[in-house]
Symmetry: C2
Subunit: 297 residues, 2 copies
């Protein structure tokens, strides 16, 4: 199943002419998972060709306004278009108060169930598992998210050839069904190989921490806070953020395939320094741009 990472907003704290407030969509088959919902996300979903009404679930990293102020409007538009499917929203403590008070203040009663989960660490949607891990943003609760996409089990072709099972039986085994062959039972589970899930990690806002290295081990894509270039690393750390070099070091140590720098401070109209600071440690690095799409297999 095709998976796309769609960057909807890549700025830090305030929007700029070219960068919107934080939001990332993960499109996986018919599902769209949203990570952070900065102001303007519903506009950006429309422009990206994704329906704001059909978002499957929402994951919030932390309760700073630039990461959540698009949520009340998104819920209202879902109501206007008469969504019926329940919406599950995952995030830190205080998220339910934020969602409920915005609805109360505006007399908004959605025609669908809105469930806010503040304590759930892990959730599975089909073959996608999404779990959070604590990061260090200098506040009580701030999370990164690990998205694992499980692939169908793979037939152990070598083994099948060894046993001599004809190709016409393979698809049955692939579907997980046992077969009888030459008076012998071939169990599907004996000829199917598990494959490691494809891993995508989004840190949200964080200082550089060891935990991210552990969580991002062998990830396909690591989307890391990169608020400043390295010359302002100290300022970034004080504010609970990372520099581009921090992100590069973590990506290198975790052995990730692709590093994507995001949460770019409004002071950078030119991001070449950010890129070179990160590339000193991890060459396969890009800077996120709004509406950038990364396909993941």
């Amino acid at each position: 199943m095709k998976t796309l990472i769609v960057f909807l907003g890549t700025s830090a704290a305030v929007p700029t002419k070219n960068r919107g407030l934080p939001a990332i969509a993960l499109k996986h088959g018919a599902d769209v998972f949203l990570f952070d919902v900065g102001e303007g996300t519903q506009y950006r979903l429309i422009r990206a060709g994704l329906s704001p009404v059909k978002v499957t679930a929402v994951f919030i990293t932390h309760l700073h306004g630039d990461h959540v102020f698009g949520l009340p409007g998104l819920l209202q538009s879902m109501s206007m278009y008469d969504r019926k499917t329940p919406l599950h929203i995952y995030g830190p403590k205080g998220l339910a108060y934020f969602v409920e008070s915005s609805m109360k203040a505006t007399g908004h009663k959605p025609p669908f169930e809105v469930s806010v989960h503040e304590d759930l660490n892990s959730i599975v949607y089909g073959n996608v598992r999404i779990r959070r891990f604590p990061v260090d943003h200098g506040m009580k609760e701030s999370y990164g998210y690990v998205i694992e996409i499980y692939k169908p089990l793979k037939l152990d072709v070598e083994k099948l050839r060894e046993i001599g099972v004809p190709v016409r039986y393979w698809s049955t085994l692939q579907r997980g069904r046992d077969i009888e062959f030459k008076g012998r039972t071939i169990r599907a589970r004996d000829v199917l190989i598990e494959r490691p899930p494809v891993k995508i990690v989004y840190t949200g806002d964080t200082r550089p921490i060891m935990r991210t290295i552990e969580e991002a081990r062998n990830a396909e894509v690591l989307i890391h806070d990169s608020t400043t270039a390295d010359d302002l690393a100290e300022e970034a750390h004080e504010e609970g953020h990372s520099s581009a070099g921090d992100a590069g070091r973590i990506a290198y140590l975790a052995g990730v395939k692709l590093l994507v720098l995001t949460h770019i401070s409004a002071r950078y109209t030119d991001t070449r320094t950010l890129l070179s600071d990160a590339k000193r440690y991890h060459s396969n690095t890009i800077v996120a741009e709004d509406y950038m799409i990364i396909p993941v297999d």
Copy 2:
């Protein structure tokens, strides 16, 4: 002093590809007054070349989410850019709860004073008077706003010529100072004529009501709810809105100079029917578009 009406969002309820959620800026000299702050307003101010940080005051028509969900993010950006000037926000009961709960939920403590006024009917900024009037949107409190821009008093040139005051004294009188001329005192107040203020009226969301005709009498610009074309007028009224023809009739009866149709339902990608429905009653009518600017002298 040059006054500009800048349309930042002209859609109803939900944004479309071309129309953002309701927001209108009135730029008058160095002041920028915001009327409604739909989600995305801070982005739109930037794109319109207006600073989100320097907004003078905010006026909210009513507490539906599409008219206020841009406010928390606007306040946060003002904080990020270290605004010091107090911000006054005017609107219906419940507005303070909305503003305060959004700040509480996100741990946001602005470095400037935020004052929410729920009961103030009229306020004067220099030569601009802004007052609200109740409209009928089928909810407890919903307001329209009348903006009156007072012009400097005008010299009564005919009278001055009659008395025989030489032109070199005129600017002194214009500044409101009395002069001595041929042993006689000429009082400025006797040779200065008051001019009627330039009036701009914004209805917010409303059914067609007589009160709007009264308030918009001889207005330079009437910005009226025009959610649907006339064939759907009944539906518009049920939802607390007006049709284009309703707006046209009111503009005609009030004798306004220019009617601007706004709050256009997302169902219209082509607005020609709206325009012709309104023009049947009032020929000087236009349909608002995002980023449209109307200069008012």
